[in-house]
Amino acid sequence: MEFKTFVFYLLATVMVFAALRVVTVRNPVHAALFLVLTFFNAAGIWLLLQAEFLAIVLVMVYVGAVMVLFLFVVMMLDINIDRLREGFWSYLPVGAVVGVIMLAEMVLVLSGPYFGLDAMPEPPAAQAGYSNTRELGRVLYTEYVYPFELASLVLLVAMVAAVALTLRKRTGSRHLDPAQQIAVKRADRIALVSMPAEKE
């Protein structure tokens, strides 16, 4: 076996194992950590495919940022795992049947002659000094500038929607605004009432 093939199978096995553990493990923190492992192995496979920029971005963005945030959320929120798993066994038969049928159908299509190595020949090897990152950078801001800018707007929409849905003024909190405290005037606190003097 060629060394590259060996590496591929190693990465793929660990990845499938880790992905399975994500859904079967009991502890949500462990699940998140297994997801990190899955991403890491996927990045390795991308490296094998000579997509080194995407591999590094996957590690930096997903493993470095998204999953760390995810871990924070999982640890901060008190998730009752048993309640989440309530329907697991009752849904399992249906889910398993659907999964097996889908797998069988896709194997039928994908294992035929249509997706073999003959139908999808390997692309020619890149020249020496070819930089994946540079090529991506070159098309990202020229040829693909339209979807790129639109994608930034999509992220903005997500941000606006998230803020609009979660930001609310809490009533009944004891929060004090220092600016308001300093700006207070005498008239706000004391009201002078003139009353007729009372005679005995």
């Binding site: 020229t142 339209y146 979807p147 639109l150 606006v160 929607a161």
Partner: protein, 497 residues
Amino acid sequence: MNFVVPDFAPAVTELFVAGMSLVILLLTVFMRESARNIGYVLTQLTLIVAALLTIFTMDGQVRVTLSDMYVDDLMGDVLKILICFSVITALIYGRGYAADRGFDRPEYHLLALFSTLGMMVMVTANHFLSLYIGLEMLSLSLYGLVAFDRDSARSTEAAMKYFILGALASGLLLYGMSMVYGATGNLSLSGVAQAIYNQAAVYDGVSSKTVLMFGLVFIVAGLAFKLGVVPFHMWVPDVYHGAPTSVTLMIGTAPKLAAFAMAMRLLVGGLFDLAEHWQTMLMLMAVGSLVLGNIAAIAQTNLKRMLAYSGISHMGFLLLGLLSGVVEGDRFNALNAYTSSMFYAIAYVVMSLASFGIIILLSRSGFEAENIDDLKGLNKRSSWFAAMMMIIMFSMAGIPFFIGFFAKLSVLQSLVAADMVWLAVLAVMMSLVGAFYYLRVVKVMYFDEPVDTAPIHAASDIRVLLSANCLAIAFLGLLPQQLIDLCQLALVASFQG
């Protein structure tokens, strides 16, 4: 590295809307609470100017720009204008409703504007990437809008369902696109069409055709979800019912035009040489939608759910138009078929706007007029709006001399021309079943005693616009030919051959 700066002129409408949405976002962030009207006014102004810009730059030419990702053609322009007007109307109807329930914050209007931008991008897309990103922008804004009434458990549940199913559908669509890319090596829709054509001509292309078909199935599934047809309709009743009515109004109208454009771009623009395959898929979905939509609607007591099921059946009708284009490899009927389908989409949007408008008109703060029983005796409370609702219901049922009749008629004509008489018969039978629940609403309005006798509170702008909307249904029913001609002209100019 020779890069030519693309011609931005054809995309001026999208650029304007995108720029204005950012301006509005920044302005409203720094505004006081009291000046929240600014967001609404600016959103409406932006939409009006966008529609005008499109009208003034409209011509019959097809221009492709931004490295093949954007196409400016007559079909896109017509649909963009209609989308703008539909969103403007929806925002006017929904404004009082949103204000009564305290969610007319600037973000609400802003998300509506972003969803319009998403629809425009979809309508003018000539590339899988821009199509998908436009779709995501539309969907994300709508998920946010559905959940906007965040203290209502029902609306949160609806948003959650919509979000999860929508994400699944996007996944299906993307998977299909990646398969088509694998088979053709092209992401641009015209490129895909060319590659499929070449492959069919050069060799018999068995291998890549299977891959193409594999992708096609997933693309059609994703498309069906966005249109809301059986078997991908599960979200429609729950989302229509759960979302605040002003948001239901937005989901049930303009996005249908965008979904129609997406179907045209993907199936007719990109995968036309596979027509015999996708037509069979659409046929199954259309039959399912017509049967399920009409029969399930009978059992509904909630007006919004009833309209949701009726929407499913109407989308089935729209598919009937799309699937009658190519008969055994012959394209003689294609123009007729797609024209009828486009006309149907426009007619449905006009009717749908008016029907949800009536629900909003009858609702007031703390009261949702969403049950059919709430319409009881409407004639005694306001004979004018009872008559308006009657026009809408007659038109949706397909009773002659309203726009809905001519929409159904043109689809049926195209079916008969394509020798699919049994489908036409089925469609007519199901329309008859549908007539039952539309006419029940009319019966309830005119022959039952009112339960709710409160007078109708509504701002005068809603009253005038809603009346105009309903009268348009009647008027376009008398003179449908101009609109049909416009659709035909747009399609001829956009897809020659």
